[in-house]
C-alpha cells in the first residue's frame, strides 16, 4: 500500500493504545458501520471495554407489525435497528447467524413466523452454540422452512419416508459441513490425498428418522394433534406416536437404540453433532468471514476453534467467547503493520454497504429505502433464495485463488446499481423516509484536502493511500470553491464507490 495520509482527527481518549484507525476498523467488524461518536467512544473505553458493553446491551426491539402477517415492517425494522440500535454487536452477530442458519420468506411469507425467529437469533447470539442449535432445530419457523415440522415416521401404506431436508442441512450448513476438518479448518485427507466425508446417506436417513414426530406448538386452548395447525410461538412439540421408534445411525458410529423417547433421541442427536470436532472450525471460520475477513489464516481459525472447544472455563460452544476471540485476534486487529496480509478483508455485502454509508452520514431512516436498495442489489433481507444464503462461504473469485463470499453478489449489473444508489444518496434523495446529512462534509469542502481528510476518517478508518488522494484531488478542485455542496457530493460519491471502501479491510 502506498503511504497513508495522516488521520485528520482522532480522539484524544484516555487509552492512547487505541488509535482512531484501530477503533474504526473494530467498528467496521463489529457494528453496522462506524460513526465519529462511536470511534471516539471506543478510543475512550478501549476495545475490551467496548465489547463488554456490547455483550451487556439488551436486544433491540422488533415490535409486532400492525398486521401480523405482513413482513415489510419487520424487514424495515432490521434496517432501523442496524442504523440506530445501541446493541450493534448483537445485531451484527444475529445478522451473521441469520445468514448461516437461514430461513427465508421465499417459502414462509408470514411475519408471524419470521418475528419469533429473528428475536430468537438476537437472544442466542451471545449464548451457547448448543442452545442455539437446539432452538433452531425446534423453531417452528425452521421446522416449516426445512420440513421437520409434521415429519412423519415411515408410512408403508402411503409409501413415504421421513423427510430428509432438515437432517441434511443441519449437518451440511449448521454445524459440521461435508468434509472432516482439522481444528484449524484445513480438510483432513485420506491416504490418497482426498478429503474425507463427514457423513453418508445412511447418516442422513438416521437423522431424518430422529427428527420425526414433531409438530407446530399447540395453540392456546387447542389440543395437541399429530399435525398441529401452523403456529409459531414457542418451540415445536412432539406427538410421540408419530416418532420413528427404530434405531438411528448417527455420526461417528453412534447408533441410537430403538424405542427411545423423541426428546431423548433429539438430545442425543444434537449432542452427537455439537461434539463433532468439525463444529469449531466450521462455524468459527464462517463467523470470521462474516465479521472480519474472507480468507483467514489457518492459525486464526485454529485460535478461534480452540476457544469454541473451551472458553477457558471448560465450556464448549460459548458464542460470546468466540466472538470476542474473533474480534480481538491479532489478525483481525492487523497487529503486523509491517507485513500486511494482502488477502485481508471482505467485500461489504449490500445490506452492510448501505447501512455503513448511512451511519457515516448520520442518517435517519424508516427502513424503507435501505430495504428496497438492498433488494435491488440482490440481498432482499430475510428473503434468501435458498437455505444456502445469498452467497456461499466458499465462493471463488473468478481469476483468483481467493474466496470472496460476498463476491457472489458482485457482478457488473450490481456494480452499476450500487453506483446509482450512491448517486441518489449523494446528489439526490433516497425518498422522504431516509434523510442523510452531508452538512459536515459540506462545511469542510472549502478546502478539498480537508474534505478528503474528513471522508478518510468517516469511511476509511483514517487511512487513504496517497495515490488515491492524488487522483481524487483534481476532480474536486475542478469544482469551484463557491460550490462546496457539489464538491462534498462528488467527493462522497468517489470514496463510497471506490473498491477500497467497498472492501472492508
Amino acid at each position: 500500500m502506498g503511504s497513508i495520509a495522516p488521520p485528520a482527527s482522532g480522539g484524544s481518549g484516555s487509552q492512547p493504545s487505541v488509535t482512531a484507525s484501530d477503533a474504526g476498523r473494530l467498528l467496521e467488524q463489529s457494528t453496522f458501520g462506524p460513526t465519529p461518536a462511536l470511534v471516539a467512544h471506543v478510543q475512550k473505553v478501549g476495545i475490551s471495554g467496548f465489547l463488554d458493553e456490547q455483550f451487556a446491551a439488551p436486544p433491540a426491539s422488533y415490535p409486532d407489525p400492525p398486521d401480523y402477517h405482513v413482513q415489510g415492517p419487520v424487514e424495515q425494522q432490521f434496517f432501523v435497528n442496524a442504523l440506530t440500535a445501541p446493541d450493534q454487536l448483537r445485531e451484527r452477530a444475529a445478522f451473521a447467524l441469520s445468514e448461516m442458519f437461514v430461513v427465508s420468506s421465499f417459502k414462509i411469507n408470514d411475519a408471524n413466523a419470521l418475528l419469533p425467529y429473528v428475536r430468537m437469533l438476537q437472544k442466542d447470539a451471545f449464548g451457547n452454540y448448543f442452545d442455539l442449535l437446539k432452538d433452531v432445530t425446534l423453531s417452528p419457523t425452521m421446522g416449516r422452512y426445512l420440513d421437520m415440522v409434521n415429519n412423519d415416521k415411515p408410512d408403508a401404506a402411503r409409501g413415504t419416508s421421513p423427510n430428509e431436508n432438515y437432517a441434511r442441512e443441519i449437518m451440511q450448513l449448521f454445524s459440521i459441513g461435508l468434509q472432516q476438518l482439522n481444528p484449524d479448518g484445513t480438510p483432513k485427507l485420506d491416504a490418497n490425498g482426498v478429503p474425507i466425508p463427514t457423513y453418508d446417506q445412511d447418516t442422513i436417513e438416521g437423522f431424518s428418522s430422529t427428527f420425526t414426530g414433531w409438530t407446530f406448538p399447540t395453540k392456546p386452548g387447542a389440543t395437541l394433534a399429530r399435525h398441529n395447525p401452523a403456529y409459531y410461538n414457542g418451540p415445536m412439540e412432539v406427538y410421540a406416536s408419530n416418532h420413528d421408534p427404530g434405531t438411528k445411525q448417527l455420526l461417528n458410529g453412534l447408533v441410537l437404540p430403538a424405542g427411545q423417547s423423541p426428546d431423548k433421541d433429539l438430545d442425543d442427536a444434537l449432542h452427537n453433532i455439537v461434539n463433532h470436532p468439525n463444529v469449531g472450525p466450521f462455524i468459527g471460520r464462517q463467523l470470521i468471514q462474516h465479521l472480519v475477513t474472507s480468507n483467514p489464516s489457518s492459525a486464526y481459525v485454529g485460535r478461534v476453534s480452540a476457544v469454541f472447544a473451551d472458553n477457558g472455563a471448560g465450556v464448549r460452544g460459548d458464542l460470546q467467547a468466540i466472538i470476542r476471540a474473533i474480534l480481538t485476534d491479532p489478525e483481525a486487529r492487523r497487529d503486523t503493520p509491517d507485513s500486511p496480509d494482502p488477502n485481508f478483508g471482505h467485500l461489504r455485502e449490500p445490506a452492510l454497504y448501505i447501512t455503513s454509508l448511512l451511519r457515516a452520514l448520520n442518517a435517519v431512516s424508516d427502513g424503507v429505502a435501505p430495504r428496497a436498495y438492498s433488494a435491488r442489489l440482490g440481498q432482499e433481507i430475510m428473503h434468501s433464495p435458498s437455505v444456502f444464503n445469498f452467497f456461499p462461504p466458499n465462493y471463488a473469485i473468478p481469476g483468483s485463488t481467493l474466496k470472496g463470499p460476498e463476491f457472489g453478489l458482485q457482478d457488473t449489473a450490481n456494480m452499476a446499481i450500487k453506483a446509482n444508489f450512491i448517486n441518489a444518496l449523494a446528489f439526490g434523495s433516497l425518498g422522504s423516509g431516509t434523510m442523510a446529512d452531508l452538512s459536515p462534509l459540506v462545511s469542510a469542502a472549502g478546502d478539498a484536502n480537508a474534505l478528503l481528510d474528513s471522508l478518510t476518517v468517516l469511511l476509511l478508518h483514517g487511512e487513504m493511500p496517497a495515490t488515491m488522494r492524488a487522483t481524487l484531488l483534481p476532480a474536486l478542485t475542478a469544482i469551484p470553491d463557491s460550490q462546496p455542496k457539489l464538491r462534498a457530493q462528488a467527493a462522497f460519491y468517489l470514496v463510497a464507490t471506490s473498491s477500497l471502501y467497498q472492501v472492508q479491510h
Binding site: S161, I397, T412, A413, A416, A419, N420, M468, A475, L494
Partner: protein, 454 residues
C-alpha cells in the same frame, strides 16, 4: 423399459392435430413481414446457447411420465401421493419410443414445441465420472461425483461439468474460451440471473444485467466537473492498493462501465420486439436475452451464451402445487422466447436447454414432497433441435431397481452431463479436438456427443 438408444434420428414432422395446438399457443403473433425483414439482416454466422437453471433440483419424475400401462402402473405405485393422474398429463408420442409418454400438465408450450419437432427431452442425465452400474455404486468400486445429493456441490458440478468438485471455471465459460471473441469487446457470455461459475472461463468473464435496471452509471453529464469525476473514478480502478480483494472489485467495476455502455448504446436504436413475454421473473430474463440477441450485430457478436434461472425447485414438501406454479412460469416463458427467436429470424441459431441440481426421489417423503436424488430429465428447445423425441435412456420405474442408487428411486444417470453439454458445445462451434479441453471426462463415455442437435 423402453430403451432409447441414440440411434439414427430423423427430424420429426408435426402432425395435424399438434400443429393446431401449436397455432393456438402462438396465435398472438402476426408480424410475418417483420420476420422477413429481420431475417434478411441476420448475420450468416450466429449461434446462441441459452441455459435455464432450475435451482433446487427439479422433480423430473413428474416432468416426464411413461404412459404405457405397465410403466405408468409402476410409476404410480412408487410415487404414491405424488402421482400425476394419467388423464391430466399431456400425451406425447416420441418418434422412437414404442409407447407414449406424458408431459407435466403445466408444460403446454413445451408440448406444442415437442409436437412441432422444436423440443426434445434428454432422459436420466446427470453427473458421472464414468459410466456406472448399480453394483459399482453400491460397492463403491468406481469413482463418483463428489458430495452427491448436496445442493451446493451438485449445482456447481452441473455448471462446471467437473464432478470431482475441483476447478474454478464453468463449462459455458470454457466453451466461450474456444470461440471467436466479439468485435466490440462485449463478452460472449451474459448472465441475467446473477453470478455463477457456469459463466466463468479460463479467460472468459460474463457481463451481468438485471432486467429492468439501468446498466449505465448515472449522474455523469457532459459538464467538465462530471467528466473529471468520471475520470477520477476510472483511474482509481487501476491503482494497486496492495489488497487483493480491492483489485478484484475494481476489475468488476471496470467491466461494468464498459459492458453497460456497450449494451445501452446498442439497444438505443433497436425496435421493440412484438412477441409478448409473460410478466414473470423468467419471462423478464428471457425477454432481456431476446433483446440482446436482437442487437447482436451492433454488439459484434457471432456467438453468445446466456444464463437464466428460476428458483424454488427444492420441493421437499408440497411438490405438486409448487411444481405446478414453477412450470406455469417456465413453460410460457420458454414458449415466448422461442417465438421471439422466430420473430427475429434466428430460431435455428438459438438453442435453449435446462439444467438443475439433481433429480428427486421417486419415492415420496413425508410432507408430500421428494428428496434429493441424481439423474434427471431435461428439455432442449430450438429450431436446430432434432425434436419430437426422447434421447438417452428412460429409467426403470422401480424402487431398488436397476437404475436406483438405493431404494428410494435415486436414478444413477445413464447419460452424463459431459455428453449433454458437449453436444451443445459442439453445435456451438467447439471442434471435436477441443472438446476434451472443455470436458476433461468426456473420453470416459462411448459417445462424446448425442444426436439431439442437427
Amino acid at each position: 423399459m423402453p430403451l432409447l438408444q441414440p440411434a439414427t434420428r430423423r427430424r420429426f414432422l408435426s402432425q395435424g392435430c399438434c400443429a393446431a395446438a401449436a397455432s393456438t399457443v402462438f396465435s398472438g403473433f402476426g408480424g410475418f413481414g417483420l420476420i422477413n425483414a429481420l431475417a434478411q439482416q441476420t448475420a450468416p454466422d450466429y449461434k446462441a446457447l441459452v441455459g435455464i437453471f432450475m435451482f433446487g433440483g427439479n422433480d423430473g419424475n413428474n416432468l416426464l411420465v411413461p404412459l404405457g400401462a405397465q410403466d405408468y402402473g409402476a410409476y404410480s405405485s412408487a410415487r404414491g401421493p405424488l402421482t400425476l393422474a394419467q388423464g391430466a398429463l399431456l400425451p406425447i408420442q416420441p418418434v422412437t419410443a414404442p409407447q407414449p409418454f406424458g408431459l407435466h400438465p403445466k408444460l403446454a408450450e413445451i408440448r406444442a414445441l415437442f409436437d412441432q419437432g422444436k423440443a426434445a427431452l434428454l432422459c436420466n442425465v446427470g453427473l458421472l465420472v464414468r459410466p456406472l452400474s448399480r453394483t459399482e455404486y453400491l460397492g463403491r468400486t468406481a469413482p463418483l461425483p463428489v458430495n452427491l445429493f448436496s445442493h451446493a456441490d451438485q449445482q456447481a458440478q452441473w455448471q462446471t461439468s467437473l464432478p470431482n468438485g475441483l476447478g474454478n471455471s464453468g463449462w459455458a465459460g470454457r466453451t466461450a474460451d474456444q470461440v471467436q471473441a466479439s468485435s466490440t469487446g462485449f463478452p460472449t457470455i451474459v448472465t441475467v440471473a446473477g453470478n455463477n461459475i457456469f459463466c466463468v472461463g479460463n479467460q472468459t468473464r460474463p457481463a451481468s444485467f438485471v432486467p429492468g435496471s439501468s446498466a449505465v452509471f448515472q449522474g455523469f453529464d457532459s459538464s467538465a466537473v462530471a467528466q473529471a469525476r468520471l475520470s477520477a473514478m476510472q483511474q482509481l480502478l487501476s491503482f494497486d492498493s496492495g489488497i487483493s480483494l480491492v483489485q478484484s472489485a475494481s476489475g468488476i467495476t471496470g467491466n461494468a462501465f464498459k459492458y453497460g455502455q456497450l449494451l445501452t448504446d446498442a439497444l438505443a436504436g433497436a425496435a421493440k420486439l412484438q412477441t409478448v413475454f409473460p410478466k414473470t421473473s423468467l419471462g423478464a430474463q428471457l425477454q432481456e436475452v431476446a433483446n440482446i440477441i436482437q442487437v447482436r450485430a451492433a454488439l459484434g457478436m457471432k456467438r453468445q451464451i446466456f444464463f437464466c434461472a428460476l428458483s424454488g425447485f427444492d420441493t421437499h414438501s408440497n411438490q405438486l402445487p409448487d411444481q405446478d406454479q414453477l412450470f406455469s412460469e417456465l413453460s410460457p416463458a420458454l414458449g415466448a422466447f422461442y417465438q421471439a427467436t422466430v420473430e427475429m429470424g434466428v430460431a435455428p441459431a438459438v438453442t435453449s436447454f435446462t439444467l438443475s441440481d439433481f433429480g428427486r426421489t421417486l419415492k415420496p417423503a413425508s410432507g408430500l414432497g421428494s428428496d434429493h436424488a441424481w439423474g434427471n430429465h431435461h428439455m432442449i428447445v430450438g429450431g436446430a433441435v432434432q425434436g419430437g423425441d426422447l434421447y438417452g435412456q428412460f429409467p426403470t420405474m422401480a424402487l431398488g431397481g436397476p437404475n436406483d442408487a438405493g431404494s428410494e428411486g435415486r436414478w444413477i444417470p445413464t447419460t452424463s452431463l459431459d455428453q449433454y453439454a458437449a453436444t451443445l458445445a459442439s453445435w456451438f462451434g467447439v471442434t471435436p479436438a477441443s472438446l476434451g479441453a472443455v470436458f476433461p471426462n468426456l473420453g470416459n463415455f462411448a459417445a462424446p456427443t448425442l444426436k439431439f442437435l442437427g
